[in-house]
C-alpha cells in the first residue's frame, strides 16, 4: 500500500521536463481569469433573509458544527465551506442529523483553482425535505489530499475515482482509488489547468488535395 502511494505520488509530480505519451509537462500555470466573486447579484449570491426552512437548517448546522462557514444562497442552496480535516466529520453530521438528513449525494467533483489549490465540491440533497447543500473544501495544489466520503455515502466512490483520475486529488481511505476513465498508465491529470496536451494542436490545417487528384 505504501509503495503504491509512493508510486502515485511520483506520478503526480513528474520531474521537470519529463514527458509522458500525451502527458503533461510541468509548466508555470496558464493564467486564465480566475472567477471573481460577487460583483453583481447573481443566483449564487448570499441571501440575507432566508425562508423559514433554510433558516432553520442554517441554525441547525451552526449549532451542530461550530466554526463552520455556512450561508444560504439566492437559488436556495445552502453552502458550507470547511477544512479538509473536518471533511468527514461535517459530512457525517449532515447525513446523520435527524433534522437535516442529507442522505443523497448528487455530485462530487473538483475544480482547479490554480493558486488556491483544488476545490472539492459536493452537492447534497435531503430527499425528505428537499434541502440542498453545497459542501466545499480546498486542498493545496502541492499535496492534493482529501479524506474520502465513501464511508458516508458509498455513491461517492466513482465520483472520487473520477476526480482522482482527471484532477489528481487523492482521497485518503478510498477503498479502490484507481484511474477510471483514462487508461492505467496515463501520465498526468487532464482537467488540471496546467495540463498540456502534447498532441498536435486542435486546429488542424485542412489541406485539400483535390487539385492533386484531378
Amino acid at each position: 500500500m505504501a509503495d503504491e502511494e509512493k508510486e502515485l505520488q511520483s506520478q503526480e509530480a513528474p520531474a521537470e521536463g519529463s514527458r509522458g505519451e500525451h502527458g503533461e509537462k510541468q509548466r508555470p500555470a496558464r493564467r486564465t481569469r480566475t472567477p471573481k466573486k460577487e460583483e453583481a447579484p447573481g443566483p449564487h449570491d448570499t441571501l440575507e433573509d432566508l425562508p423559514g426552512e433554510l433558516a432553520r437548517a442554517v441554525e441547525r448546522i451552526r449549532a451542530g458544527l461550530p466554526g463552520v462557514e455556512v450561508r444560504g444562497r439566492r437559488d436556495h442552496w445552502l453552502e458550507i465551506r470547511t477544512e479538509p480535516s473536518r471533511w468527514v466529520e461535517v459530512a457525517t453530521f449532515l447525513r446523520d442529523d435527524p433534522e437535516l438528513r442529507f442522505d443523497y449525494l448528487a455530485l462530487l467533483t473538483g475544480i482547479d483553482r490554480l493558486d488556491d489549490g483544488f476545490e472539492v465540491v459536493v452537492h447534497l440533497n435531503a430527499l425528505t425535505s428537499n434541502l440542498r447543500l453545497i459542501l466545499r473544501t480546498q486542498v493545496p495544489r502541492e499535496e492534493p489530499v482529501c479524506p474520502t466520503l465513501t464511508g458516508v455515502w458509498p455513491g461517492a466512490n466513482w465520483h472520487e475515482r473520477e476526480a482522482y483520475d482527471l484532477l489528481g486529488i487523492r482521497f485518503e481511505g478510498h477503498p479502490d482509488l484507481r484511474r477510471i476513465l483514462l487508461k492505467e498508465d496515463w501520465v498526468g491529470h487532464p482537467l488540471r489547468k496546467d495540463y498540456i496536451d502534447r498532441r498536435p494542436p486542435r486546429k488542424i490545417q485542412v489541406k485539400a488535395d483535390w487539385e492533386r487528384r484531378a
Binding site: 486542435r202 488542424i204 490545417q205 485542412v206 489541406k207 485539400a208 488535395d209 483535390w210 487539385e211 487528384r213
Partner: protein
C-alpha cells in the same frame, strides 16, 4: 392446483404474445429499400455544409470567417487576400472543410450573415479515400450550385443524386466535373426559380 393454473396462465400469455406477432406478420412491411428508394428529407435537414452562389454564379461568401470561428471542431479553413494592393475588400481564395470531422451541428450556416453557407441534403459522404473528405472550394461551390429550394432552417435542398436509377451508387467525386467558381455559364438552379 395452483401450479396448473400458473401453467395455463403462462400458456395464455404466450398465446397472446404470439397473437401480437402474427398480427404484425400479416401487415405490410415498413422498411425502405434504401439505395433504391430514398427517404424524403425534411426541409432544413442537415447534411454537409455547401457554399451558395448568387444569380451570376459567384459565391456569396465574403471571407468574414464567422463560420470558421464558430465551428466547434474547427474544421473550416478560409484563405483570402486583400484586393487592390492589400487595402480593398477581402477576396476569397480558398475554403476548405474537413467533412470527416464535421459534426453537422449547423452553426456555420446559422451564423453566416450573408446566407453564403447552408446545410445541404448531401449526406452520402462515403469514400474509399480519406483525403477526399476534405472538401475544397470547388466541390463545395459545385454542390451549392445545385441548390433547388430557398433556405429553410439554414438548410437547402439540392439536385444532388447519389444514386442512379440503376441502383449503382455514384461516388461524390464524379459530381465535380463541371466548370469551377464564378465561370459564366455554369449550370445552376437559381433560388428564385
Amino acid at each position: 392446483m395452483a401450479r396448473i393454473a400458473t401453467f395455463f396462465d403462462a400458456v395464455w400469455s404466450i398465446l397472446k404474445g404470439m397473437g401480437v406477432t402474427f398480427r404484425e406478420m400479416v401487415r405490410p412491411t415498413i422498411t425502405e429499400f434504401y439505395p433504391y428508394t430514398r427517404p424524403e428529407l425534411p426541409d432544413g435537414a442537415r447534411g454537409i455544409p455547401v457554399l451558395l452562389s448568387d444569380e451570376e454564379g459567384n459565391l456569396k461568401c465574403v471571407a468574414c470567417e464567422l463560420c470558421a470561428k464558430i465551428c466547434p471542431p474547427q474544421i473550416i479553413e478560409i484563405i483570402w487576400h486583400r484586393g487592390e494592393d492589400g487595402k480593398g475588400k477581402k477576396i476569397l481564395d480558398g475554403f476548405n472543410l474537413d467533412a470527416s470531422r464535421c459534426m453537422f451541428c449547423g452553426l456555420c450556416a446559422e451564423v453566416c450573415p450573408f446566407e453564403a453557407i447552408a446545410m445541404s441534403d448531401v449526406y452520402e459522404l462515403t469514400t474509399d479515400d480519406p483525403t477526399t473528405f476534405v472538401y475544397d472550394i470547388k466541390r463545395l461551390a459545385e454542390l451549392g450550385r445545385k441548390q433547388t429550394t430557398p433556405i429553410t432552417n439554414y438548410g437547402v435542398k439540392t439536385t444532388y443524386v447519389g444514386t442512379e436509377a440503376s441502383g449503382k451508387t455514384v461516388p461524390l467525386d464524379s459530381v465535380v466535373t463541371r466548370p469551377a467558381v464564378g465561370q459564366p455559364g455554369s449550370e445552376r438552379t437559381a433560388v428564385s426559380q
